[in-house]
């Protein structure tokens, strides 16, 4: 019974976080929700006897993907100030 409550809670939380991360317009919040979902999924992997996958999910699926997303947001936002700096051009050098 308790196991079912935990499972049900985990599963619904994951769906909820997925929806939250894809429904909003605030990108930082979306990424946070996504990373939180990844961490909960890692718990599910442990629950389903997949510890190898859990480590990889937490480190790569949630951690690294989250870091990549955040640094991209930062780079997107850094753009206006950067283009005003002489010396760093935005052109695609060939």
């Amino acid at each position: 019974m308790i196991a079912w409550i935990v499972d049900g809670f985990l599963g619904l939380m994951i769906l909820c976080l997925a929806w939250q991360s894809l429904a909003g317009t605030d990108l930082i919040r979306a990424v946070s929700m996504f990373v939180a979902m990844g961490l909960l999924i890692a718990i599910v992997w442990v629950r389903l006897d997949a510890p190898d996958v859990a480590i990889a999910e937490a480190a790569i699926g949630a951690g690294l993907t989250g870091a990549l997303l955040l640094i991209t947001i930062r780079r997107q936002r850094a753009r206006p100030t950067e283009s005003s700096t002489p010396g760093i051009q935005n052109d695609n050098a060939d």
């Binding site: 190898d52 996958v53 990889a56 480190a59 790569i60 690294l64 990549l68 052109d91 050098a93």
Partner: protein, 224 residues
């Protein structure tokens, strides 16, 4: 505001998505219970695989060709991102502070040790090249954010290809030795797996860190 056409399109999308969900749900429920998959067959073959962690056995022995191509995917991604030629600001570092420095000095060796441990333990327990590579990537990203990571261009390239090169070299050596591509000789499978995994860990960590950095280091950094 949305036009009627857009609204109609949205309704169609919702219906299609719900239909897909329903079909998938029915398919999942319709799967007969009690299937063992390959659990028993894998358990039976495990003693001959050279490792005792079944997942490592699948990744580097039973289905090693998948993993070889996967390392290829990683290398490809690095080449693809470099080919985009992004020009990123140089100073993407955390503000230098004594606290951060101390944090790094204590934690970097620790993380590196954890990575080594994960790689070693992967033969017998949860862990392996990917997990170790991921942890090492953490080291790389932290060092990058602290501004202490400077690698010469050619060293970086060699580290990036090491995994694929080693994998292909071992595959070919095995073809000459046992007559089967990636078929390890009886008894020494564990050694070969560790050799491949070590090179793969280096490449995985290098490539993932380089993906985070996002651009190829300029020739200026060639002689640090």
């Amino acid at each position: 505001m949305t036009t009627p056409i857009e609204r109609a399109r949205h309704v169609i999308v919702v219906i299609a998505v719900l239909a897909l969900g329903a079909l998938l749900g029915i398919a999942i429920v319709g799967i007969p219970v009690g299937g063992q998959g390959l659990a028993l067959i894998a358990a039976e073959a495990l003693p001959d695989s050279g490792v005792s962690n079944p997942v490592t056995a699948v990744l580097l022995n039973f289905r090693a060709f998948d993993t070889l191509l996967e390392i290829g995917v990683l290398l490809l991604t690095l080449v693809a991102v470099w080919a985009l030629g992004l020009r990123l600001p140089d100073a993407e570092t955390l503000p230098a502070s004594p606290l951060v420095n101390t944090l790094l000095r204590i934690n970097l060796p620790l993380l590196t040790m954890i990575a080594g441990y994960l790689l070693w333990i992967g033969a017998t327990a949860p862990g392996g090249a990917f997990q170790a590579g991921a942890v090492l990537t953490g080291v790389g990203v932290l060092m990058r954010l602290n501004g202490v990571l400077r690698l010469s261009r050619s060293v970086l390239r060699w580290m990036a290809i090491a995994g694929l090169l080693m994998f292909v070299a071992v595959a070919l050596a095995m073809l000459a030795w046992t007559g089967g591509l990636l078929q390890y000789p009886v008894g020494s499978a564990g050694t070969w797996i560790l050799v491949i995994e070590t090179a793969a860990t280096v490449s995985i960590a290098t490539i993932l860190t380089a993906l985070f950095v996002g651009q190829e280091p300029g020739p200026r950094e060639e002689r640090p």
